[in-house]
Symmetry: C3
Subunit: 138 residues, 3 copies
Amino acid sequence: MTYQKKFFYETRGRGTYEITNEVNQAIREAGIRSGICHVFIHHTSASLTLCENADASVRSDLERFMARLVPDGDPMFSHTLEGADDMAAHIRSILTKMDLTIPVTDGKGALGVWQGIYLWEHRTRPHRRQLSVTIHGE
Amino acid sequence: MTYQKKFFYETRGRGTYEITNEVNQAIREAGIRSGICHVFIHHTSASLTLCENADASVRSDLERFMARLVPDGDPMFSHTLEGADDMAAHIRSILTKMDLTIPVTDGKGALGVWQGIYLWEHRTRPHRRQLSVTIHGE
Amino acid sequence: MTYQKKFFYETRGRGTYEITNEVNQAIREAGIRSGICHVFIHHTSASLTLCENADASVRSDLERFMARLVPDGDPMFSHTLEGADDMAAHIRSILTKMDLTIPVTDGKGALGVWQGIYLWEHRTRPHRRQLSVTIHGE
């Protein structure tokens, strides 16, 4: 069995946004008990990541780390038409990936106790992001 | 339904090579309307990535960024038998991954408008790279 | 067809541990000839990676590289309750990912000649890690 749905998420600019509930809702709709759930973001300047969901300082440290690793407005960048965060957003997305697959067990997304699914917006301005969720299994 | 095919790609050395057409061709052959498409590269010194496909400066900036992040011939490396790009190629592959999964919708790879699928060759010399594409769905 | 199993791995602290045999065992149990095999680690401070499996110096260089890229006890980190390796472990996991999918061909994990599947423990102390393997196909 295969179930697929599309949804949109309005970000408020750079940062991480938990979408675990949206993904679990799709799994419930699918009615699949055992299988996999694939999440995909249809953009090149936002990504998907699994992150600790308990202490928000993990996500602020992560954001600071990434800002240092891939500096906005790095003089090395030639792709700067859309601003200092443009090329940095592409690299941040490539390093953290636009696809994510989790197991489905007993009809639920089988995440670890501390794992949450996050949409990571890498542009500084708000964006409307399209995602697809596809569930396969029995 | 499951469809799988293997193909080879001859790279001309370090750089990114778009393989979106090859992947879409496999999806058409599969005749699957809704599901997922998994792409895999059978090597540890080349990887797969989704990247902006419109402005080539994105890919040249990306290449420069990666060359700075993982310098060829870093004195820290002990695995140097095959040359200065050997260990760097392994690390670059691990950071950008050898597997990639995209949704299939209406019989096509459901990429975002600006997303292309790229084989990223990390060795400086040309290589013949083996890939597998597996499509699941209905 | 879908087959899913869970297993545990006892790490001895930071480092890479090959789990190719465990994954191949699950594929044999599934009895699936052609499809995909999804591996998942249910934690935010350990990850999964494909790495060269022949020369162990690749993995020691990789470990050194990652220790420099994401330094333990970086003064930038505020999430430090569990020690200097805590936040570093989260970032290392996010950069190398907790999910991995490989093709299944002729009833086996279709890895390249030099590819092995590794559990990467990022905490310095030993941990018991839970993994799930899900195989889909025909």
